[in-house]
């Protein structure tokens, strides 16, 4: 049952937010309902599918398994924020070109995870891509196009780095 609501303040996509929420509200619901950031999706409500993946203080996290009150004072980035800052525009373009999405429901989570992978491992092989993203379900694509897109971005980024080195 409901218990007393609490005031939380945090930064979401660079904007400071202060809201009064029920302690039981998940971060996913907080983002979607309170802040109307509907790009974060809820597929399983149980931390399995990865559709709700966001970034908290520089690390991906599943917004359905975290309570809004737990992110007090944190910095949260959602797909909306990442899209506006353009931090992984190249991934979005590669997904588009390779048709690495169909219904798009898994896509925000896939992009958040892919972006994190490429910051940790700039030259992932296909198997490493598959392993890193294996906690993100996609029911439409069969996954291959997603692997292709991430691989392409890794190669392009490396080529760019290579040019700068020369």
């Amino acid at each position: 049952m409901t218990t007393e609501k609490r005031l939380i303040s945090l930064s979401v996509n660079g904007e400071l937010q202060a809201k009064i929420v029920e302690p039981r509200m998940s971060l996913a619901d907080f983002l979607r309902i309170e802040l109307e950031l509907t790009g974060t999706h809820v597929g399983c409500e149980s931390g399995v599918c990865g559709a709700c993946t966001v970034n908290i203080n520089g690390q991906t996290a599943r917004a359905c398994t975290i309570l809004a009150v737990q992110v007090e004072g944190d910095e949260v980035t959602t797909i909306e924020g990442a899209s506006e800052s353009g931090e992984f525009r190249d991934l979005q373009d590669a997904f588009h070109a390779r048709n690495a999405l169909q219904c798009g429901f898994c896509t925000p989570g896939m992009l958040m995870m892919s972006a994190e992978l490429l910051t940790q491992n700039s030259k992932p092989c296909r198997q490493e891509i598959r392993e890193y993203l294996s906690g993100n379900y996609c029911r439409c694509t069969g996954y291959e196009a997603i692997v292709d897109a991430v691989e392409t971005v890794a190669q392009t980024r490396n080529a760019r780095v290579g040019e700068q080195d020369d």
Binding site: T2, Q102, G142
Partner: protein, 793 residues
């Protein structure tokens, strides 16, 4: 019919037909700017949660709503009797499925619940969380009844009868007897009998079923935002059961987060949501949570099939015989019924082979589990598993190579038009060419060598081949003739605006397949404009021409053709105006890249923006007796054939770890013939996504029940889906055999991947296990089943 290859617009060099172009509407999804139904927020909107039956079969003695109605935020608490006053019940039968029976079904159960998860009471509250809180305050007195779970036991003497009014638990039965099966079995060199089991699984749409109903009593308008595949069908059904005229019901379908056939049915909780909005006069939202999705989304593929195949010593297959049983839950689904899967198993089995002797029986029974109905590739995975299982059985019996036996028995590519033993009409298929292509693609001879060498090292690898037929472009024979409000036609309206850009409104919907993109490609090619000057509108019954929606692999073939014809019609209208303006003959003009040009030398005469400007703002400069029409609508429905069959073949090479029973894919190839390919990338991705769904059913997915009819694995952590590390890269190739029924020549491709994957995998496993004398015939092919097949456990 015009011969497609003569049309210089669709197939001229700069046409978009046959070209990979990215999907314009994918960008918003990539930016988190999609608009799925749960993203809809309306003034005064309230939320509904359902109390669902915790029992598979139980009488409802009493419902005490008194506490719940007083709970914080609660707006209404409604039971089956209340909702029946505004929402009429339905019966899921179709006239052409002769002898089929089903019971009356209500939006909320009245008197008794017949499956675990059937909605019983609805609570409407200001938030979903408060509605769920109040659910706990409802007290229901139940009388638990005996359950029917096993499909064959459902017809036993002492079986509990789920619906007394029906007399027994038989939903439908049909038999088929073609040629002379008896004589074939009498003379066969070998007869192989086998039982195959296909497992109950479900679609698991990433976005669960979602609906917002908004009844405005002031103007009697019901506006419904729904994640659906068939807006016009839903419009008819909601209007009918709530008692509104169809024009008072508007169904809007924005972005859909996966559907796969799950969202083509009318669900009781969605009817209840619409009825609640009608009762309350305000917007009501229902979004299924994951557990409710597992309990209430349509399940599929639960079949048990006994098969018999006759083969001569030289490898000629001379008879197929099947006895198919399926249990479909307590009610036949509405409005498509729960018999189509069995019907397709009966009609399609063995359909790619020359054999003329075929006997079959399909039995559909009721039981106390979640209702079953159509899910992507309806029946095909079962058809292909048993057909290709039987063919491999026959090959093994006579020691013939699996490719060779198929080559001898497949219908030859020059034998068309022809029919299957069961009477399916085939316009033109390419089994032989597809098989040849696959043999090269997968490098068959090399794989056989590798397999032999691996065996020497005690490593068990196997090749699985599965040829298939696939029903696409369904005509009126599928549902219309049975009395369902499901149109087989689709329509497109194409409009040139004042700036020379084009808007297309079309009846199909988009769930990510790329419907809007291929429609744009068709219109752009037929009209002579560039893709960036087109906007496609789908999913709004107030706006689009009446259409069937997206299911049955009909988008490209049916809506694509409507789009082509509408584009051509608008081109003629535009050229008529242009001819007047340029004082020339319309025949001497053409449209190319948004300009009116000379047909003969391609010289640009006038941009389309000029046509728009004159027609809309300065019609006074046109002759007084001339009225320009910069809008054209065309509809299309296939008439010559009841459906367009496609064909193809899947092949995979796998390694089975005989210590763990785990499978590793080493190669996966698909050759597919969907006729004209409009966008190669989109088709390939349909195939890949389809194959992976097929792999899911073959290796992981299963709705597991106990003998009390309770679902044991209704969460994503214990209902296993294929993940990125479980599936291989998939090579896809095409043979193109266009249908001559339409100018575009496209057939469907959305289900072919799913239809044959389980068969290819089963055959590969059994090929790998053959030296060990093991064989699996029950899906999913889990490590446990593989190990027990070879006697390890």
């Amino acid at each position: 019919m015009t011969n497609a290859s003569n049309d210089n617009h669709l197939f001229r060099p700069n046409s978009y037909i046959g070209r990979t172009v990215p999907r314009p509407n994918a960008k918003r999804l990539l930016n988190g700017r999609g608009n799925y139904t749960d993203d809809t927020k309306l003034p005064r909107m309230v939320h509904v949660a359902f109390l669902r039956s915790p029992y598979a079969h139980a009488r409802i003695n009493k419902i005490d709503k008194n506490q719940a109605i007083k709970a914080p935020g609660v707006v209404a608490v409604v039971d089956g009797h209340d909702i029946a006053e505004v929402c009429a019940p339905w019966v899921g039968v179709l006239a052409h499925l002769e002898g089929m029976k089903s019971a009356e079904q209500h939006a909320l159960a009245i008197e008794k619940a017949s499956w675990e998860g059937e909605p019983v009471v609805a609570i409407v509250a200001s938030t979903r969380a408060l509605a769920e809180d109040a659910l706990e305050l409802i007290k229901v007195e139940w009388d638990i009844l005996p359950v029917v779970t096993d499909m064959e036991a459902a017809l036993g003497e002492d079986a509990e009868i789920i619906h007394e009014s029906l007399g027994d638990n038989l939903a439908w039965r049909r038999t088929m007897d073609a040629g002379d099966v008896g004589a074939s079995f009498d003379h066969a060199a070998h007869i192989i009998e086998e039982r195959y089991i296909s497992n109950r699984h479900t679609g698991v749409c990433p976005e669960s079923r979602s609906i917002v109903a908004d009844f405005n009593s002031a103007d009697d308008q019901m506006t419904i935002y729904q994640s659906t595949q068939a807006p016009h069908m839903m419009q008819s059904l909601f209007a009918k059961h709530i008692g509104l005229d169809t024009h008072k019901v508007r169904v809007i379908c924005n972005d859909v987060g996966g559907a796969y056939g799950i969202k083509v049915h009318a669900y009781p909780d969605e009817f209840a949501t619409v009825a609640l909005s009608y009762m309350l006069g305000r917007p009501v939202k229902f979004v299924a949570d994951r557990r409710e999705s597992f309990l209430s989304d349509i399940h599929a593929r639960d079949h048990r099939i006994d098969t018999r195949v006759a083969v001569t010593a030289n490898g000629e297959i001379t008879a197929f015989e099947i006895d198919d049983w399926t249990g479909v839950g307590p009610y036949s689904a509405y409005p498509r019924t729960s018999a189509m899967e069995a019907l397709q198993v009966l009609n399609f089995t063995g359909g790619q082979y020359r054999n003329r002797n075929y006997k079959g029986r399909a039995t559909v029974v009721y039981q106390n589990k979640t209702p079953m109905s159509q899910y992507r590739a309806v029946g095909h995975p079962i058809v292909t598993m048993i057909t290709e299982g039987m063919v491999d059985d026959a090959a093994r019996a006579i020691g013939m190579d699996p490719l060779e036996i198929r080559r001898r028995n497949l219908i030859a590519d020059d034998a068309y038009p022809t029919t299957s033993a069961s009477g399916l009409p085939f316009e033109k298929l390419s089994h032989q060419a597809s098989l040849d292509k696959l043999e090269k693609m997968i490098n068959y001879a090399e794989l056989r060598k590798d397999q032999a060498a691996a065996r020497e090292r005690g490593v068990y690898r196997g090749i699985g081949i599965a040829t298939f037929i696939e029903m696409t472009n369904p005509g009126v024979a599928s549902y219309g003739v049975g009395g369902a409000p499901i149109t087989a036609q689709d329509g497109a309206t194409v409009r040139l605006d004042a700036n020379g850009n084009t808007t297309v409104a079309i009846g199909v919907t988009e769930q990510g397949q790329g419907s809007e993109t291929i429609v744009a490609q068709c219109v752009a090619s037929a009209l002579g404009i560039t893709l960036d000057s087109i906007k496609v509108i789908t999913g709004d019954t107030d706006v689009t021409p009446y259409g069937g929606g997206t299911w049955g692999s009909r988008g490209a073939g049916i809506a694509g053709e409507a789009a082509v014809q509408a584009g051509k019609a608008l081109r003629e209208n535009i050229l008529e105006v242009a001819a007047i303006m340029l004082q020339t003959d319309a025949d001497s003009l053409d449209i190319c890249e948004n300009n009116v040009i000379n047909h003969r030398d391609g010289e640009v005469r006038m941009p389309l923006s000029e046509i728009g400007r004159i027609c809309y703002f300065r019609p006074d400069t046109l002759p007084p007796d001339f009225q320009a029409e910069l809008v054209a609508t065309r509809h299309y429905v296939p008439r010559q054939y009841p459906f367009a069959f496609t064909n193809g073949v899947q092949g995979c090479y796998i390694e089975v770890d005989i210590e763990t029973g785990l499978i590793a894919f080493k190669k996966y190839c698909v050759v597919e013939d969907c006729g004209r390919v409009i966008n190669p990338q989109l088709v390939d991705e349909q195939i890949r996504g389809g194959v992976v769904q097929g792999i899911g059913g073959a290796l992981f997915e299963e709705c597991r029940y106990n003998d009390r009819g309770e679902l044991l694995n209704g969460t994503m952590s214990n209902y296993l889906l294929p993940t990125m590390t479980d599936v291989p890269d998939i090579e896809v190739a095409h043979i193109e055999t266009p249908t001559s029924e339409s100018e575009l020549g496209a057939k469907g491709a959305g289900e072919a991947g799913t239809g044959a994957a389980a068969a290819a995998i089963m055959n590969a496993i059994n090929d790998a296990l053959s030296p060990l004398g093991g064989k699996v015939t029950q899906q999913p092919f889990t490590p446990e089943r593989i190990l027990s097949a070879i006697g390890k456990i």
